[in-house]
Symmetry: C2
Subunit: 195 residues, 2 copies
Amino acid sequence: MYSVKDEIRILGFDDGPFKPRSSQKVLVVGVVHRGGKFFDGIMRTWVTCDGLDATKKINNMVDESKHKEEVQVLMFKGITIAGFNMIDIKELYKKTGKPVIVVMRKKPDIEEFKDAIKNFNNSEKRLDFIRNAGKIYKVKIKKNKSIYYQFIGLEKSEVEKIIKLSSTRSLIPEPLRVAHLIASAMVGGESRGRA
Amino acid sequence: MYSVKDEIRILGFDDGPFKPRSSQKVLVVGVVHRGGKFFDGIMRTWVTCDGLDATKKINNMVDESKHKEEVQVLMFKGITIAGFNMIDIKELYKKTGKPVIVVMRKKPDIEEFKDAIKNFNNSEKRLDFIRNAGKIYKVKIKKNKSIYYQFIGLEKSEVEKIIKLSSTRSLIPEPLRVAHLIASAMVGGESRGRA
């Protein structure tokens, strides 16, 4: 794709707090961050708790954004958002043309996850989304500290470089840390705890 | 007070977009930023367009914040917010115990401002707020680029150091740049332009 620069523009997403299993609209905040360095912009949308509209809503938000051209990669914390709403990273990559990186603090138990999904509507589609997210890899960020990731549209080495260069202030990339703080505050009034 | 450190925690405020002269509630976002370096937290409140509740509302927000103890200085872009709502920095300093810095891109025309204020209720109180903001100073940030400021609770040299060290990405301090982007996006859907 491109050579990974320190100030690569990453668009990282997180959801605000919500009542589980409520079908309510949940705030999703997207933060444009220059690598691990600084805040460059922000956008928002709403997705349905436990619904399946996240991929489409996020694609629309990116598509309408003034940051669209400059953003080089999309980043999520896990493929679920707003409860069991799920991101189809393959579809999102196809639609936006932007590579997608998914990071996870812990290795997810896919079998347990698949079991949980059977309780939701469109469970076949949801299982597709899990497959589309691809293999789970592990990368060491700091000594003794690793995180897990999935991706599409990049080389593995590029993904690891992006994760490492953007995790400057904590154990997750800055766009995700900041998106979490903002999404929490905009619903709850103030950011609570760390991402 | 304290020696000014590079990662001094500054709480910078900005308002979201609103309909002028509407008496509507206007979003005010406060961003905790470590000097000019990175985003550390966020809080929000609402104040009345053209009202006089900003000082109290902002004091309450700071008082209830988990960031209260660690924040070392408050920062505003001008003493008006949400139209002609105004910050009494003397009162805010007294209440919060935090020094306050007000920065302005251009030197305000105080006589013109005083004339405008005569059209609002409590104009005597508003004139007091202007007096309480103190003398306007000028500081050069980059070659050929200066901004203006007022302050309370610090030495002039400390104020200039804080303004300079926090203006890393543009001609205004980072907490104000970022607060502007977030406040705009949370009302309008996406951040528009630069602070």
